[in-house]
Symmetry: C2
Subunit: 453 residues, 2 copies
């Protein structure tokens, strides 16, 4: 809790480190990095181009490699680990919490994982292999196993004496879990209750009973929603028979919440949500090219629709000039609806059961938008091109495309979710294809009907 | 910690409530709502159209109105409060935590706030007015004042006896703060340390010294970053003289983190980030129309650029057909860069000090993209239209626009941040304008030069 003026602090520090590095003052950089908390060192690494990053990594005391790796985002971490020999990785991860260790191992290529595992000592390897057996991005994946458990029939006095003897408790312990002799979860006692309770009470008298644990296979995103909704600081994780397996703490959940919230935004631009801001050029280009390829295909599709009206376009160049307006407005309106629905789904507001009023509402907004922007564009075009008929045609196309945009924006994500396709990833491109095709058809089609002999 | 199978649970429950309501089974709905935790009732309200919402609100026991209001998102809450008489609002908010109360009052129209305040009893009013004096969205705004403080010279034994006498501690207490006799913050003691420490030790011996508090005027977004970075569960808030004013707990920070992460995505679509998924049609239409209006203007600007080449377009209809491809690809590539940079800024990876390598990197990606997609589009067009020259022209335009997209996507958000404009809100529309104008100019301009006599 030392540094509270972080923004300025770390920016100037970063500048300082980068300058010192480019001047070859390695000793000074090493010293500066040594005096920073691991989370700040991670931020410095994430804020530098991949080449500088490699140099910086060499200057960090190997003893702190593990701490820094824990704080790094997946993409940046993988880039660094790929350049390390497996023994070094094994050394670095030795002291990691299980949850962080497993998360790290999970993101590595399989052969590297095997090499790292075989470089570990027996106990660490066993711990890691057990945790790796849980499904990716599940409760088992993010839980920690360093839990203090209490037995129901013990008195508070005994517990307090035991804790004083032990001298400390695992990090971020806010609740002790109570298990019976079969290790099944039967209740919990907040740490603060041990402070305020009479010492002759038993755990059984003090505990909140019938606590349900989080099933070990629950997806981490659902775990995060529960934490967010019920304001938990930690929660017990259990197997199908209610055996206590570990606990999840809020600090890991915060990361999931941020990643979850960022996911939609990054996906909608066709970017991997763990993407490294300073990733190497070739890697970034390759990653983004899929999205650009899909877009080229849809742009060609739109061009092919225009191509159907070549005869009209060759006679009336003014149509070519105005041809982009209706698709563009439809795209923006549709994306507003799409974004709202995708966010509503992420927050749990939209589900198959209550989607009907939402679709009706968005259709109504589309119709209203259609009227507003049809009137406006008709006036602009009629004045600009001195052609009332042309204004009427573009207004008609605008009406149709705005309704199509509202309908597509609201129904697409709901349909895609039902088909288990991520609407954030593919929704935007399909929507734009629809609004482009409908917009061009409506405008050039109507124009052909009305203006061509 | 009762309900862990939330997704199915609340969806079927919502269906059940909606069905019962439309069948006029008010007593049953009232009973169901009564048995749900406040956070779930809030979710039900957020998941229903505004009309049904009003009916549901009537069926909630007024005693729980306050709890539910605390859990609701700003937009939905305001809609409900606007329909309540101020005395009822005052009754509902009576038992709220200071931070939630102030957050609620802050979002209400000024005259409603005055009415609510004057309906409160003296003590509540004083508490609220004091907290309202802090700047909006600052640490003072989200802090709680129910902190237990310790004095340095007291022994642990005395504290434990005091706590047992008191019987409980404020919710989410994980740390006790230590103040001197002038109420200045001098250190802190985690709750768990009181359990493990020898009881004859003094607070002074046990505490972590020199704890810096969060300045009361720090923006809440920066507070959230600190929590996220240092994995805090709570943190003390101090004034300029280091007097302890209160504490911020992780449960409030989690909301800020989600809102902050969502903000960029919603802003990029021109949506208010607190927007209610089921807001009334007129309200939604009005809100979204600003964005559509801006887009209409930029679409007309692009049309005006095409208009400059009317002579070319009227002779070569094929140009009209292909005219949308280059702007579209530039828009997608530019938006990828823009999204990445905006997210990098939010995470603190991008700052004026280290933006140069980022701009260079994105320019290089733009150039690489330009080459890839130029070759591809040239081949497609040459084959489709049987015209190698046309292929070469569109390839040239693609090259130029991709570089422009990379440059604009990387520099725009950095420039805008320097000018204190939110890049998430305005970046995308300015970027698209640039890629449209450059794309059309490059394509039609080159075509005019090369193909026109």
């Amino acid at each position: 809790m030392s540094d509270t003026t972080e923004q300025q602090y770390s920016t100037s520090q970063l500048q300082h480190i980068t300058d010192a590095l480019s001047n070859g003052m390695y000793v000074q950089v090493r010293k500066t990095l040594h005096n920073m908390p691991a989370c700040d060192v991670a931020l410095v690494l994430e804020s530098t181009p991949s080449k500088v990053r490699t140099e910086l990594w060499q200057l960090i005391d190997p003893e702190f490699h593990g701490d820094v790796l824990e704080e790094l985002s997946e993409d940046v971490r993988n880039g660094i680990i790929r350049n390390m020999v497996p023994e070094k990785v094994a050394d670095a991860v030795e002291d990691m919490d299980t949850d962080n260790l497993v998360e790290l191992l999970r993101t590595l290529p399989d052969d590297t994982v095997q090499e790292v595992l075989s470089s570990m000592d027996f106990q660490d390897r066993q711990r890691a292999e057990k945790a790796l057996a849980y499904g990716e991005e599940t409760a088992g994946f993010v839980m920690n196993t360093d839990t203090i458990t209490l037995r129901p029939d013990v008195t508070i006095d005994v517990i307090l004496r035991y804790l004083r003897l032990k001298g400390d408790v695992p990090e971020d312990t806010d609740t002790f879990y109570v298990v019976n002799r079969h290790d099944k979860l039967v209740g919990y006692v907040p740490v603060t209750k041990l402070l305020t309770a009479r010492t002759d009470m038993t755990v059984k008298e003090l505990m909140t009973k019938n606590a349900e644990g989080i099933p070990v296979e629950m997806p981490e995103r659902d775990v995060a929603k529960l934490f967010e909704r019920y304001n938990w600081l930690s929660a017990p994780v259990v197997d199908a028979e209610n055996h206590l397996l570990g606990r999840i703490t809020i600090d890991d959940v915060v990361d999931i919440i941020r990643e979850d919230a960022e996911h939609s935004m990054m996906s909608m631009a066709g970017l991997d949500d763990e993407a490294d801001t300073y990733a190497p050029i070739m890697k970034s280009t390759r990653r983004r090219s899929i999205w650009l390829g899909v877009n080229l295909f849809t742009a060609l599709l739109a061009a092919a629709v225009s191509d159907l009206f070549e005869a009209t376009l060759s006679q009336l160049a003014v149509l070519a000039i105005l041809n982009t307006i209706v698709p563009s407005m439809g795209g923006v309106a549709g994306n507003q609806t799409l974004t709202l629905v995708i966010r509503g789904m992420a927050l749990g507001h939209v589900s198959p059961g209550n989607s009907k009023p939402l679709v009706i509402k968005e259709l109504a907004i589309g119709a209203l938008n259609g009227i507003i922007w049809a009137v406006l564009i008709a006036s602009v075009v009629a004045l600009w091109k001195q052609d009332v008929m042309l204004g009427a045609i573009i207004a008609f196309a605008m009406m149709i495309n705005m309704v199509a945009a509202g309908l597509a924006g609201a129904t697409l994500p709901i349909l895609m979710q039902r088909m288990n396709i991520d609407p954030a990833l593919a929704g935007s491109v399909i929507l734009t294809t629809i609004t482009d095709v409908v917009g061009i058809f409506a405008f050039l089609g109507t124009a052909t009907l009305m203006l061509m002999p």
